[in-house]
C-alpha cells in the first residue's frame, strides 16, 4: 500500500461575493510509496504550497480524495485531525518554526512529549537523532543562538523523532546558503536511506531537488511532467535543469 495517495485534488480559492476565483490545483494526483524521496517543483504560484498544505491536512481541497496510510483524514474532526497529523506526519518549514522559549532539544522532543512517551525513551531518541543530524553539541542552545542550517537540522530531527509515515517539507533550503543547504540535504538523504524515512519536499532549488528519487513538476495547478533519477546525482541535476527550462517561467535564467 502506498503511504500517500492523492486523487484528483482540486482547490479553488475565492469565488465568494465577486472575489476572483483562482484554481490553485486542478485535478492533481500524486502517489508516494514507502521509502520514497519525492521532490515537487514548479514556477511561483503554480500551487506547490497549496498542495503541500492539503497533504498536510492543514487545508482542505475543494474536491478530490486523500489517503494517508489508507486513512482519509478529511473525514476526521478537528481534534482527531490534529492527532492524526501529529502521529503520522512530520513537518519541515522554510523558516524552521522552532519555538524560541524552548532549547533545540526541547523543540525536538515536542512531538514525543505531546504523546506522553516516557522520559527514558525520549532521551534515547533525541540522542539518536542528534547523532545522525550532527547537532549533539548544540542541543541545549536556544534557536536564536545557532545558525539557520543548524536550526533546520533541529527542525528535521523534530519532524522525524516520532517516526512519522511521511515527512512533508516546504522549501527546507529556501533560507539557507549553499553550504548549509548541502548539509541539510545530506541529512535528509541519510534519513531516507538509513532510517527509511518517506519524504516529500517542495523546492525551487534544482540542487536540493537532485537529492530526490523523482521529481514531479507542476504548472498552473496541473501535473506537468515527472522525471526519475537514473544514474548519478550529477546527471539527475542536469535532467532537472532541462525539464525546468521546458517548464518555462522564472526557471529559464537558472538553466
Amino acid at each position: 500500500m502506498s503511504v500517500l495517495k492523492a486523487e484528483n485534488i482540486t482547490k479553488i480559492y475565492g469565488g465568494k461575493k465577486g472575489a476572483m476565483k483562482v484554481k490553485a490545483l486542478d485535478n492533481f494526483s500524486i502517489t508516494i510509496e514507502n521509502r520514497e524521496f519525492v521532490g515537487v517543483m514548479g514556477p511561483s504560484g503554480s500551487g506547490k504550497t497549496t498542495l503541500l498544505n492539503i497533504l498536510a491536512t492543514i487545508d482542505t481541497p475543494s474536491s478530490g480524495e486523500l489517503y494517508i496510510n489508507g486513512i482519509n483524514p478529511m473525514k476526521l474532526d478537528e481534534k482527531h485531525t490534529a492527532l492524526f497529523r501529529r502521529r503520522n506526519l512530520g513537518f519541515i518549514f522554510q523558516d524552521y518554526n522552532l519555538l524560541d522559549t524552548l532549547s533545540l532539544k526541547e523543540n525536538i522532543i515536542l512531538p514525543l512529549a505531546l504523546e506522553k512517551v516516557d522520559p527514558k525513551t525520549i532521551e534515547d531518541k533525541v540522542k539518536d537523532m542528534a547523532e545522525i543530524l550532527n547537532i549533539n553539541d548544540i542541543l541545549n542552545k536556544k534557536p536564536y543562538e545557532v545558525s539557520g542550517g543548524q536550526q533546520q537540522r533541529a527542525a528535521i530531527a523534530r519532524a522525524l523523532i516520532h517516526n512519522p509515515s511521511i515527512i512533508l517539507a516546504d522549501e527546507p533550503t529556501g533560507n539557507l546558503d549553499s553550504k548549509a543547504s548541502q548539509e541539510v540535504m545530506e541529512s535528509l538523504k541519510s534519513l531516507n536511506e538509513e532510517r527509511n524515512a518517506t519524504i516529500m519536499m517542495v523546492t525551487h532549488d534544482p540542487f536540493a531537488a537532485s537529492f530526490c528519487h523523482r521529481i514531479v513538476m507542476i504548472k498552473d495547478g496541473k501535473f506537468f511532467l515527472e522525471i526519475v533519477k537514473g544514474g548519478s546525482r550529477h546527471a539527475f541535476f542536469k535532467d532537472i535543469l532541462d525539464s525546468l527550462s521546458l517548464l518555462g517561467g522564472n526557471y529559464n535564467d537558472i538553466a
Partner: protein
Amino acid sequence: MTLRDIAYKNIKGNFNRYVMYYLSNTLVVMVFFIFANFIFNPVVSKVGTLGTKGVLAANTMILCEVLILVFTVLFTFYSISTFLKSREKEFGLLSMFGLTKGQIRRYVIYENLIVSTVSVITGLLLGILFSKLFFMAITVIMYLDAEVPFTISLKAVVITILSFIALFQGLSILVTLRIKNNNIAELLKGARVAQEPPKFSIPKTIMAIVFIAIGYTIAVISGAFIILTMFPILLFTVTGTYFLFTQFSVFITTRIKNNKRVLYKGTNIITLSQIVHRLKDNAKVLFIVSILGAVTLTASATVYSTQQSIKYKILLGNPHDISFMEIGEGLNDMSILEEAEEILRKNGHMLRNKNQVLLLRAKNQGELNIKSSKNPYRNPNTEDFYIMSVSDYNNLAEQFKKANITLAQGEVYINSYEFSVMGSKSEKLFINNEYITLGINGETYKFKLSGESIGGVIDVDRYRTNVAIINDKDFEILVANTPKEEQIMYYGYNIEDWERSTAAVDEIASILPDNYNIKFNEKIRTYVDIMQTMSLFLFIGTFVSILFFIATGSIIYFKMFNEIRNDRWEFISLKKIGMAYDEMKQIVSKQSFIVFFMPFVVAFTHSTFAIIALGNLLGDNITLYFLTVAAIYLLFQTLYYVFAKTMYLKQIKSFEI
C-alpha cells in the same frame, strides 16, 4: 501619505491591541471626572450647607483624585512602554524604509494623541452620564442634609481635559525618548532577542522566603504593638514579595522544568518553558498587582469589619433606642416623657416598647480578680454598678429575646459592658470571681456570682456600664433601705424605624429640661453618624478599589495581548505539527491562570496576616468579614480571568495556518 495617516491606519488595523489601553484610560478619566464634578459642585464647594460629612466626602474625594492621578502616571507609563516594546520590529521596518528616529517618535506621539484624545472624550461623556447616578448614590448613602443638585461643572471638565491630555502626552513623549534605532538588525529581531533564559540568584530566592516569613511572624506576634512594628513588617513583606516574583518564581519553575518526568509530559513542556519567561517578564507587574491587591483587600476588610463591629457594639450597649433616667424616683417633673412621646408620634415614629425599671447604684468594695487582656488600650469600668431585680430583668430579657435567669437570695448575675475606641472584642470581666462585694448606700453586701453576660437589657452610660441583677427579695430589702433621692427610675423606648429618627431625636434633645437629675440617652445619632461615615469610606473605597482592580487587571490583560502577537507564529507552528485546539487551550488556560491568580494568592496571604495582626489590635474576630471581601474579590478576579482567557483563545483560534 503622511505620518499621521500611517498612525491613523495603524490604530484602525490594530484595534485589538489598543482596545484595552483605550478602555482603561476611559475608565480612569470617567472616575476622575465624576469625583471632580462632585468636588466642584456649587453646593459642595459652599462647605457649610452639606454639613460636616459633606465636607469629609469632598476632602476624601480630593485625596482620591491625587491617588487616581498618581496611579494613572504609573499605569500609562507602563502601558505605553509595553506597547512600544512589542512593536520594535515595526519600528525596525520603519527605519529600514528610512524614517529617522525623530520621525518614528512623532509617529508614536500622533498615535498616542489619537487614542488619548478619544479616551478623554469618551471618558468625559461617560462621566457626565454617570455623574447624576453618583450624586444620587452619595445623597442616599449619606442621608445628606441637603440634596446635591446635579450640575456639570465647567471647571471639572477643563481640569479633567487638561490633566489627562498633559499627562498622556507628557508620558508618551518621555517614553518615546527611549526609542533607539541605532541597531536596525536588533530591532528587526524584535522580541526575539529578549528570550534569554531567565536567571535567578540563590541568596535572593532565599531572601524572598525568609523576608516574608519574618514579616508574617512579626505581624502575628506583635499584638498591640503592631503600630510600632508596622513599618518593619511592610518593609520585609514588600521586599520579600518583590524577590518572590523576580527570583523565587523563576527558581521554582526552573526546578520543576528540570524534572524530566514532569517536563516531558504532554503540553507541560511548552507551558513550563513559556511560563518561566512570562513570570520573569511580568515579575514587576505581578508584584505591583499583588501589593495593590493586598492593600485593597486589607483596607476594605478593615473598613467593613470596623463598621460591622462598631454597629454590633452600639446595639449591644443600647437595647433601647431612647432612654431617660430620673435620679430621685418620683421627685422630679417628668413631663418630658409625654413631650418626647408626642414628638415621636408627630414625626411618624410608632412606639414599639416602653419600659420602666427601678434601679439602685452600687460601688465595688472588694478585691476583684479582673480577667487580664492582651490589649493595653482597654480600660473597662469595673467599679460602678446599677442594681436591678431579677423579675425586671426577665421581663426585659423576654422582650429583647434574651435568656431568662433565676437567682436565689444572695446571688448576683452581672451584665458587663465595655466602651472602647475601636470595636474591640468584648470579654467577660468578672467571671473569675466567686463573690462580688458591693457597697450600696453606705452598707456592704457580699453576693455569690452566679453568672455574667456581655450586654444587658438597659442602655449603658459613661458612668456605669455594668448591671448587677439580684433576687427580688434582696432587691426589696435594699430599696426599703434606700432613700428616694438615691433611687433611679429608668424609662426606655424602642421606636419603629429608629434609623431614620434623627430629626425627632434632635427635637427631643432640644427641649430637655434643665434638670441635672434627668438624664437623656439615645443611640440613634451616634449610630447614624458612624454608619454614614463608614459607608462613605466604603463607597469611595470600593470605587477606588474597583478602579485599581480593573486597571491592574488591564495591565495583565494588556501584556497578554501583546505577547500573543509575538507568540502568534509559535501557535501557528504548533498547530501545524499537530497540536489540537484543546491542548492549546490547556496551555493558555494554565498560563493565564498562573498570571491572574498568583497575585491573588499572594495578596490574599498577605492580607490574611495583616488581618490577623489587626484582629489582635482590634481584639475582634474579623475573619468572616475578611473572607466575604476576599470572596467578592476572587469572584471579580475570576470573571476577569475568564474574560481574558476567552479573548485570548478567540484570537488564537483566528490564526490561520
